[in-house]
Subunit: 526 residues, 2 copies
């Protein structure tokens, strides 16, 4: 660890003085650090590197973090799955709209496909006007352009763009004359009864990689030549100078722009222009290779989502023997990636919760005839059988997770030391769930103390272990405490959870597994 650059190390200090714990934003400026910053002392302890700095600050870094690999932002070829048409012989990345909305795993699969392969198709999207905006809203924000918030792709009497005619359109990017160019495009089919008008996609990264392989010098020319893309109509005059193939600082393909229609006049000396046009023509020819072109038909209700800085899209000509009407809009990859990361984060949280049920919870009895996992699953099942709202099913299912979090364990409670597991559990769950789930969990111990105070015979029905913990937790409430509890907004929900809690101690009761509840939990995460 001795060769870690001090400013790098200090800039990454994870302590609460250096970093906002909620959003990871730093709370200091790099210029706040002294010019002679150095490590005064360091030691490894408990899987952490502990550092005392020359200015007196102390930092503590997980060794695992120190050794982590560089991850990328997912935007270069290094993190994409480059493809040719045959790679989708088994089918397109697609999902049903209803399943996409209902199931986070399905949603993650669709967004993941857009991120990795550059596209996905949603089927069964209601074929109504403006619905494409709702699709974009599931993962990001619409980017408005001179074509409007959305645009209609159909034959128009006085088109300002070839898209609005019935002719074939070769593979291209949209809006290359914008900077920033919209990085995502959505095309939602409202009607496609015309002969022809099939959609085509070409992986521009793959085409660029082929060019690099077959003609490295041409590839280099296209990466270093800013090309003027232009568009002009009565109320618009756009121009962006960007290379056809953009590589990052490490030389990796990051964006592809391709649109012969809107390339303006490139200036330069004759040799440069000659070299550019030779490279450009070669690249253009590659984009037309049949093996690169994935063809499919968008039917009514299909919505294609694709990466507009990677994939080139095309369509075949169509007859005017029927109607063809797509509605499209633009959006951006950054928000889509964010939505995907949040879905992954939530899936990881559900995995972590599931592990409580499969691991520690499956072995821990805490004085009852059932394991903690069985107990919580029974409570959830009882809530569900009672027709409880999803947030109450979740609260019942998760009410005891606090036994496995925090400084004190459920076993400490059974040894007479209150582990305040309702608070610990609620706090832990609050990372993912709202108060409608966490507050009944927080109050479920208080609810027992309340019920013992106000409901004759309730205390007598407690299990032996529950009677024991009741005393550790403070015994029944007095009258004032009970009145205060009853006035809390979540008291009623907490009492309901408590009743299922007490019932959920039947040995050998048949209960569904954690997987049964997972979609319900997923739908409550926010």
């Amino acid at each position: 660890m001795s060769d870690l650059p001090p400013y790098w190390l200090r800039d990454n200090c994870p302590c609460a003085d250096c970093r906002d714990q909620r959003n990871g934003q730093k709370l200091f400026q790099i210029t706040d650090l002294p010019d002679d910053l150095a490590v005064a002392a360091q030691t490894e302890l408990d899987g952490h590197l502990e550092v005392l700095w020359s200015d007196g600050h102390r930092s503590r870094y997980p060794l695992e973090w120190l050794g982590a690999e560089q991850e990328g932002d997912g935007r270069t070829e290094a993190e994409k799955r480059l493809w040719v048409a045959a790679d989708f012989a088994g089918g397109l990345p697609e999902a049903d709209w209803t399943a996409y909305l209902a199931d986070p795993a399905e949603r993650a699969a669709v967004l993941g496909a857009v991120r990795r392969s550059g596209f996905a198709v949603l089927r069964g999207v209601p074929a109504v006007e403006r619905q494409v905006l709702a699709v974009a809203g599931t993962f990001g924000y619409v980017r408005v352009t001179n074509y409007g918030e959305l645009f209609d792709v159909r034959v128009e009497p006085d088109p300002n763009n070839l898209a609005f005619t019935s002719v074939a359109i070769a593979p291209h990017s949209d809006n290359p004359y914008r900077d920033p160019v919209p990085t995502l495009q959505l095309l939602h089919c409202l009607e496609n009864s015309a002969t022809g008008g099939d959609s085509g996609l070409v992986d521009g990264f793959k085409a660029a990689a082929i060019l690099r392989e077959e003609a490295p010098e041409d590839f280099a020319v296209l990466t270093r030549t800013p090309v003027p893309f232009v568009f002009r109509d009565r109320s618009t005059e756009l121009r962006a100078d960007r290379p056809l193939i953009e590589v990052d600082a490490l030389g990796r393909i990051r964006e592809v722009r391709f649109n012969n229609r809107s390339i303006g006049t490139l200036r330069g000396d004759a040799a440069e222009l000659e070299a550019f046009y030779a490279a450009y023509r070669r690249f253009a020819a590659i984009t037309l290779r049949p093996q690169l072109r994935l063809e499919f038909r968008l039917d009514r209700g299909d919505c294609l989502i694709f990466d507009n800085v990677r994939l080139l899209h095309a369509r075949t000509a169509f007859e005017q023997d029927g109607s063809r009407h797509l509605q499209g809009c633009y959006a951006d990859l950054d928000s889509l990636a964010s939505a995907l990361a949040v879905l992954h984060r939530r899936a990881a949280a559900l995995d972590a919760i599931g592990e409580l049920f499969a691991g520690e919870g499956a072995g821990e009895y805490l004085g009852e005839a059932v394991t903690m996992a069985e107990h919580m699953l029974q409570a959830g099942a009882l809530a569900q059988a009672a027709g409880a709202a999803p947030h109450l099913v979740a609260a019942a299912l998760l009410h005891d997770v606090g036994h496995f979090q925090g400084a004190l364990h459920g076993r400490d409670l059974m040894q007479g030391q209150d582990n305040r597991h309702s608070d610990t559990g609620a706090d832990w769950l609050a990372r993912w769930f709202g108060p409608e789930v966490t507050e009944p969990v927080r109050l479920h111990v208080a609810a027992k103390r309340y019920l013992c105070a106000v409901e004759p015979g309730y205390r007598e029905r407690l299990s032996e272990a529950s009677e024991y913990t009741l005393r550790v937790q403070g015994g029944p409430m007095d009258e004032a405490q009970a009145a205060a509890f009853a006035a809390l907004p979540g008291a009623e929900d907490a009492v309901a959870v408590r009743r299922w809690d007490e019932q959920a101690k039947e040995a050998d009761a048949a209960t569904p597994g954690f997987g049964h509840f997972r979609p319900l939990l997923a739908s409550l995460m926010r």
Copy 2:
């Protein structure tokens, strides 16, 4: 001309088969051109290069166009005015909101300042909620982010961003963790009665240029190191790997991102990290130099517009002895540049129209006692004196411009050859004006033929020249023609213009100059 690369030349063919005349988009693909394309013959004629191609196509290029210089897209340092604070000792680039709305020249000045200097301030913008969105709408489209369509910069109880506290904030870019990053930011002051909370701007391009001057190797390190910018909260997880200083393929500074708060963990070998942190610290120190920092105060009703991929913005800490409330939103430079280009295009059109009045129109009498310029100015002034709507004043003012356009001149008309100047004029004007202006112009000759048919005594009052041209133009309408004319939607307006036309032949009448009408014309352009 012999060394012009053939594919370059052909790709730029301006003919109507190769290029959509309305939007300049090409109507062919580069791959449509044969592999052995060559110039078969070429000749220079009438200021044009005429080319016969080996595939039989013919092209015609203005020599002036062939010799034109490369223009850029305005986004690199080459087309910016780099600044230090003292450059604005004479005042900020600013305009009054009312003037900005009313006067295209004022609007162009503001947008031009944002483009060249990176910012401008609008004063007197109504201090009402959501008004900032209206400001953005004057030149482009709002970019929605996880902070919403707009965001409120004021002290918040549970801030997810330092912006929403009262602490000082060092110069930084917003949203560097987005890709595409919003390229423009607007901050509209609704209230600023707190002590402190002044705004600061630093020209990031200037800071980068200083770094390049003082430490070229550090500059190079920052341009070639993709830095992970990150932001994470409950519903967001954004990451973008981009260099702090981005140069274009020709090495020119194109974008600057700077935000210590959101720089995540950069990975690399120790030497790379060491080099990056040394360069980063040096650059950070430059951004803090007082001579670079322009400080000013935003007061109620001020709206700052600035380039978020160039300027770094900052604020001083403020006391909570008063209220400070800014509303902000993001937008993009491309649309701003487009709006500016359209304003310039319209200004150039007004110049061209003005030149008709100052040049040819001031010397041409066409058989009357007044020059054509005097005649048209008188017609416009008569319309205005009659309280006519602006579009009719414009039509009266411009009704005879067709004498100076097209194949046949006004002099041809006077020699007995109808130059169809009402059509030629209307078509020429249609580049900039809508039918409410062009159609009365188009019909003003027909209106004379109509009035002569239906209004007793009208023909007798015509000037000698007008009586002459009446005959060249077909004489009075017959009954059917007159009925058809009267039924046209623009007939009434055309008749009104015609009456001013006939009156506007007073030698030595005092009339305002073209400049008087320019704002009215500007307001009608679309």
